[in-house]
């Protein structure tokens, strides 16, 4: 366990030093999600919400900002990994992955270190902003604290597992640019961040079911805006744990297959 944590910490430190060379990158990481958040918020603003939200009766004029911000906060947790996984795939092209394979280091700790590093570097500034907005709009909240802690824990764990899955997929994909295109924008559209997934047509709902972000964003909105308790969100919790388990399994299998394939064929690109 100590060795696992050691690799995790080393990988986090390395990725931080390797990717965050100047402090200005933090500004860009804040401005970009801020702009998309503002765009989404003002896209809703001119419309009478009670007539367009259909089944989502909990959105109104006063909590719209919380609804959109909650969605974007969740999106940032998940989206930061698409870009970081794309960067991570360069470990293969630059040959450093081969040197990692030359060591007895735990491969899962290696990709987890990258995921944790990306998560904390990418979200903290936006989180500060989001918490500030939440405090200013505290009157819009009806929160069950236990559910809120559970929801945030699931957000962190699931997003990290998502990050590890993406790292494993990007690491062994010969066409990581394709994965980037397929996962980045569609996640924002189909996971119900701008427009709630419940108002989607059936085919779009099927697409949204693929992204773990869909369940997490909806669960947190219900906890923080509607004040749902454990009984109301238990379906989301079960689905989230199930998806988390699947993601961890696929990541482990992918890592094993990737290394086995590389040792068998000399080719690090699995698919």
């Amino acid at each position: 366990m100590g060795y696992f944590v050691k690799i995790l910490k080393a990988e986090m430190r390395k990725q931080h030093k390797n990717r965050f060379f100047g402090k200005s990158i933090y500004v860009s990481l804040f401005i970009w999600p801020m702009l998309t958040f503002i765009t989404a918020y003002y896209s809703y603003k001119p419309f009478p919400l009670d007539k367009i939200v259909g089944g989502l009766g909990y959105i109104n004029e006063s909590n719209l900002i919380i609804f959109v911000l909650m969605g974007y906060m969740c999106l940032i947790f998940f989206r930061c990994f698409v870009q970081s996984a794309w960067f991570f795939s360069m470990e293969r092209t630059y040959g450093t992955l081969e040197l990692v394979y030359l060591t007895p280091a735990n491969r899962l700790a290696f990709i987890m270190g990258n995921a944790v590093s990306s998560l904390f570097e990418s979200i903290w500034l936006f989180m500060v902003f989001a918490i500030g907005v939440f405090i200013l709009n505290a009157s819009s909240f009806k929160i069950d604290m236990a559910c809120a802690v559970l929801g945030i824990t699931l957000l962190i764990v699931l997003s990290m597992l998502w990050g590890m899955l993406l790292n494993a997929l990007f690491l062994f994909s010969r066409d990581s640019a394709f994965l980037f295109t397929v996962l980045e924008e569609p996640m924002e559209i189909f996971a119900g961040i701008k427009v709630p997934a419940v108002v989607f047509p059936v085919w779009a709902k099927a697409v949204s079911a693929v992204f773990p972000l869909t369940y997490i964003a909806e669960m947190l909105r219900r906890i923080f805006i509607r004040g749902d308790g454990f009984l109301q969100i238990r379906g989301f919790v079960i689905v989230s744990i199930f998806i988390g388990f699947i993601m961890l399994s696929v990541t482990t299998i992918c890592l094993k297959l990737g290394e086995q394939y590389a040792r068998k064929t000399g080719n690090m690109a699995l698919f």
Partner: protein, 326 residues
């Protein structure tokens, strides 16, 4: 001791053959290679591009699974116990890849040290010792992207020693370096083996490196070891003809006819070349003609500055051995 026995590696490639069919092709990159690495010894693995050197090194360093054969590293199975074997080996490659350019030299070494689970205090001491050894101690806090090619290569050597391996595989470590840095690196390599008892396997295209460093050489061609031995023995094995050089003090008009007649009478196909600028005869033959040539020189009272057999070159030998498939 590292013993590799009958190593073979076959790759399978799949190419589209028509719209839906895929054709499988098998490529035998390495065939039945056996070699040994002893402590404090530098051995060379030579051959032209595509001979199978890198595939062999990757199998020995656990990065590739052999299709057939067995690797024993101090009693451990190179395939089944690969995670334990990884602690005892390391690989150093030529070129500027495989290091993190935005990290400093010290950070790069620290990162790899962590992956090998080295105690932090010991790691700090080792990093300083290695940086000192490769002459980068003063530059340890500068990002690698500001390093010259030679400095990056020296850092690669330090990285390859971070886990204090017993067996080091060096794949063209001096690739693209200028002569002075390459010489410096050769000195490090020699010290590693002779002073620190490391066992080194070296692949290179520079024959002078092999002649200078290696005690024993394996020559590969088309995936197999075609010949092995000490560099001197290999040079002699590849030498088909004997070359005799005579450097004269002055031109001797009658000597040419005398030499030609005497040498041709012993070996019809021998070659006698006269270089009037350097006043040198070069006589190439399958048989040793030195006695005959000496007799002719004495008969003609020819005065000469030098009389010697040309030393066989390892480079020529390897090309010849590879060409004739031994």
């Amino acid at each position: 001791m590292l013993i590799a026995e009958h190593l073979s590696k076959t790759y399978e490639t799949k190419d589209w053959n028509g719209f839906l069919k895929r054709k499988k092709t098998q490529i035998e990159a390495v065939k039945d290679v056996s070699l040994e690495m002893h402590k404090g010894q530098i051995i060379g693995l030579l051959g032209i591009n595509g001979a199978g050197k890198t595939t062999t090194i990757k199998m020995l360093s656990t990065l590739l699974l052999p299709t057939k054969g067995h690797i024993d590293v101090d009693g451990l199975d190179g395939v089944k116990d690969s995670m334990t074997v990884k602690k005892r080996i390391n690989m150093i490659t030529g070129g500027e890849r495989m290091i993190y350019w935005r990290l400093t030299a010290r950070e790069n070494l620290w990162y790899y040290g962590q992956l090998y689970d080295i105690d932090n205090k010991l790691l700090d001491e080792r990093i300083q010792r290695l940086l000192d050894m490769v002459g980068l101690k003063e530059k340890q806090d500068i990002p690698v992207e500001r390093f010259s090619k030679g400095m990056k290569q020296r850092l690669q050597i330090a990285r390859g020693l971070i886990n204090d391996p017993d067996y080091i595989f060096m794949d063209e470590p001096t690739l693209g370096l200028d002569a002075s840095i390459a010489k410096e690196l050769r000195e490090y390599i020699r010290d590693l083996a002779f002073k620190r008892g490391k066992s080194i396997l070296l692949t290179t295209h520079y024959i002078n490196e092999v002649e200078e460093l290696c005690e024993y050489v394996y020559v590969m061609d088309k995936g197999t070891v075609i010949v092995q031995g000490t560099p001197k023995a290999l040079a002699l094995m590849g030498m088909e003809n004997k070359t005799l050089c005579i450097e004269l003090h002055e031109n001797h008009e009658l000597l040419h006819a005398g030499l030609t007649e005497a040498c041709m009478s012993i070996e019809k196909n021998c070659s006698i070349q006269w270089d009037s600028k350097n006043m040198t005869y070069t006589i190439t033959s399958r048989r040793d003609l030195s006695e005959t040539v000496t007799r002719v020189l004495l008969e003609h009272r020819a005065s000469f500055r030098n009389f010697y057999h040309q030393e066989p070159s390892l480079e020529d030998a390897i090309i010849k051995l590879a060409r004739r498939g031994y």
